[in-house]
Assembly symmetry: C2
Amino acid sequence: MAITVVGSVAFDSIETPAGRRERCLGGAATYFSLSASFFTDVRVIAVVGEDFGKRQEAVFQARNIDTRGIEHTAGKSFFWEGSYLENLNEAKTHITDLNVFAAFNPKIPDAYSDSEFLFLANIDPVLQKRVREAMPQARLVAGDTMNYWIKDHRPALLEVLKGLDILLINDTETKMLAGNNNLVQAARAVMSMGPRALVVKHGEYGATLFHGDAQNGGAFRAPALPLEEVVDPTGAGDSFAGGFFGYLASQPEQNPAAFRRAMFYGSVMGSFACERFGTERLQELTRQEIDARFNLFRELTHLA
Amino acid sequence: MAITVVGSVAFDSIETPAGRRERCLGGAATYFSLSASFFTDVRVIAVVGEDFGKRQEAVFQARNIDTRGIEHTAGKSFFWEGSYLENLNEAKTHITDLNVFAAFNPKIPDAYSDSEFLFLANIDPVLQKRVREAMPQARLVAGDTMNYWIKDHRPALLEVLKGLDILLINDTETKMLAGNNNLVQAARAVMSMGPRALVVKHGEYGATLFHGDAQNGGAFRAPALPLEEVVDPTGAGDSFAGGFFGYLASQPEQNPAAFRRAMFYGSVMGSFACERFGTERLQELTRQEIDARFNLFRELTHLA
């Protein structure tokens, strides 16, 4: 089943201990859609400027991603510059130029209107809500957010959470959103705000799925791969989301067993994203490599 | 098979967000032996003062732990006071009174000399080495250490590592010991110092076993239980070690499958230790509860 994703398509200049890259193709919607495209059809809603040309478009086309919802306007695309020199787990932002993104008003192509799966990447919750309302046929809606929206745009964010089935955020964001430092208690509080499933990402330690009422809150833990070298963690969370939601959308039923496998596929895609700068690794990946790593993750965690 | 453990038996005054306890029975060898006693016979080597009386002795007796190697001397037992008010993952030490522990010279009862399993808890590496050399019959030797020995007693510690089969330490200690901030690279460096298996404990995120030459360094990840309430994390690492090594010692073969299950039992015992102050939870635990939680850990991590 097709997923529609709304979010940023951007250029990133990135510095890590492994080196530096100028103006890589990036943005949450880019990482998400490349990652999800290995599992299902993906349609993107975003806005770009005149610096987004054929070379960038070709990256999406190579993965058969529907870009009719990427609006081209005068000006420059969203630009981010950051580094991970001291801590690979947390980016230090040097520059955020919203550019054409500042006036982003998502337009949904008619051709997208039968998408049963909707992913609201990390953007202004006002826009997330608008897209969700414009796509009432979406029967499974997942989303992301960040500390900025949690701290300074809480009322709008709470509105979005009411309409979400699945929220994907990290430890710090979960605790901040709940105002509670215990992860299990915080997870329960966040789920009482709307989402019936919560994926908490722990960076190099993997991720935990909280999904309901089973013993211990129905938790499920997916590992992260212990990586010999993290070249660039940019987009790892969005790639996780793409693998997770892409796999779910590809399944006939979104039952608990499918959620578990989706957690593994999320973690698999996050691990690939870190192996090269920007989207380089996702661009040349194969489904065979993905499934081999899925099996490695099973080996990494299963008793026998 | 019987395990001999050498380490501290102490009194701890502990403050956590859940409350405060004065002079609980504690110490690495105490937590380790209580935890391991659910799996195999345990023999302790330690030193205590006149404040260690029948009440404390009874805690060991209730679990059939051999205490003939606990030397009683004039003076006071090792005393530690600490709190976890800001961060449940890291104790803030207020007082460390070595007392009789300052002159500890481990004496090994003849009755212990057939122990095939030896655990060197976190004490001066000079003493760890002495005990290891005095027990040449031990065919599987595991040990623990801490930042203090890594930083200020490196040559002595390196001598101990040469004689260890398994080292159990945390993330920070692994990276500090290796002088490398990448966990996989650091693990490999530490294993080149002696231990053929390394267990890296990640606190609330579980633990990773590195054991050799398989793909990705033969890593295996055990989860930690997402806990609704952490009452007191003191001794969680030693309880992990007790469950891990106790289970290994109970098995006819210490093969890779046994190591995997041992990681789960370690994590299970660490999770119980946190549920009450000091050794309270370990004292009243049953093997049935342990196996039920083992199954819960499987449920928490396995795809189907």
